[in-house]
Symmetry: C2
Amino acid sequence: MNASTSPHGPGPQSPTRLLVLDAEPPPRLGRLTGRVQIEHADATTLAERLPYADVLLVWDFTSDAVRRAWPGGGPRPRWVHTASAGVDHLMCPELTESDTVVTNARGVFDQPIAEYVAALVLAMAKDLPRTWDLQRQREWRHRESQRVAGTRACVVGSGPIGRAIVRTLKALDITTALVGRTPRTGIHGPGELDRLMARADWVVSAAPLTQDTYGMFDARRFGMMQPSARFINIGRGQLVVEEALAEALRKRWIAGAALDVFAHEPLGPESPLWQVPGLIVSPHMSGDTVGWRDELGMQFVELYERWAAGMPLQNVVDKKRGYVPGH
Amino acid sequence: MNASTSPHGPGPQSPTRLLVLDAEPPPRLGRLTGRVQIEHADATTLAERLPYADVLLVWDFTSDAVRRAWPGGGPRPRWVHTASAGVDHLMCPELTESDTVVTNARGVFDQPIAEYVAALVLAMAKDLPRTWDLQRQREWRHRESQRVAGTRACVVGSGPIGRAIVRTLKALDITTALVGRTPRTGIHGPGELDRLMARADWVVSAAPLTQDTYGMFDARRFGMMQPSARFINIGRGQLVVEEALAEALRKRWIAGAALDVFAHEPLGPESPLWQVPGLIVSPHMSGDTVGWRDELGMQFVELYERWAAGMPLQNVVDKKRGYVPGH
């Protein structure tokens, strides 16, 4: 591949030029051998390589390199796939307005994340963090814990992840309400969020990060929650005003919280969030179960086969909205 | 009440003499006011008060005072109720052979304990104990965790607690096998335990403590489990050979364990169990959710109403077997 190669539309015999944003080759792409010519890029080389790619696979989904490189000059890939559920890290106006199709990893993370949320709900109800503290101190201290059956959850975000969370919490006999952008059967609209949050024992944030959802969990909303209620964010860090959550916990407006995602990741050792009372901090791992990279690789291969055959792609992101519209 | 009172069979106008083994009055007995004359006993006074009681309510179920006091001289209560699921702490040959009816708190703990087991399973699958360690060290370290859906559990003990655990684990899409004393539809007999333990990802001990079950989880059985498997005991401490479990964990025969019950409770600060690698220690609290004492009190009142009306009691323990036979 060199600058004299036409950047788009290889002939039927030419291999597809696949640019992968990551230092390491993704797993499970072996089936594409001979049909795809893979090149790797990182944040510093992406801009210069972008014009020569037919397809961009955003494997390092923690990077915002695409958003920065995309507006530059030259042709652009016709298809961008990100190995993540959220697309906030790559969207920019130039990409939104282009003809390029954007797809995401919808489906891979649903069940793992739902289990992770259930793990957090049960751990908080059963006071497990305190149990670990007491075990370290070799101290036998019996406490009463809480039943989760019969409690109420409000899940914000009606995509496949939010819906999987609802299914799993319902299986534990938790009464759930699902809030989405567009009210429809079984889904409450944003206008009902305040009311539902005020009566929930568990508020779970699973929304995509968009202009509408940025900072939606703020001091006003935490102040509206019950003092016995807990808040969980497995969506995107910027959905939450982190300092407002820390204050709500310090002032005991709410009983506890768990954050798996943060405005700035990785969270540095200097962050005050590590030590907020009642806050569980985990390193953006809710969806990442053993084998997840293989699943993401296989999902890309499946999408590639459709693309190469000229079939419509699945998991196509509505670039204006910033997520794959639901049914 | 004095020594000249006939110890049994008060006339229809006489209040029932209810002896409560506990320093504090149980909650929710108000409905019995005027019909019941309550006296309290502790381990030192039980033997002398036992002959003057119509009914014994074992409210302090951590005490083995009944087993020690029962064989003494004099009449005995016609009915003993224990505010616990297990009856191992009170049974002795003299009580077994007597006409006294023994009832237990069957039903109160089922759902809370099932939730607690689900909390432990999910916490271990999602590596939450390590997450807390890392949080304390302010260290961001991403790990892959495990899906619980599709894993296999073997639940030992086919009473209402074991069955509730099975229901809850199944709701999380865990494939479960239930092992009981008597094989019947949906329940495997003891002869299948080894085979089922050898293929399980989760082994849950929820059996009553009897001569047959004492020490049933020993080095041989831990050695049979998969290296990736975990063991959970919420039944009784003596079901497990604790030192064998500690060794199995130290030698990595199995990946983890959680004990909520112990051969000697409370566990003293000198116990080596607090620091066994991969072992979660909690203070016999799996069934004790907020309001549990009220539920136990109300359950006793309901049973009392049946007893006073001459109706057959529920939750009647088969004293020879040591538990309430199932259907």
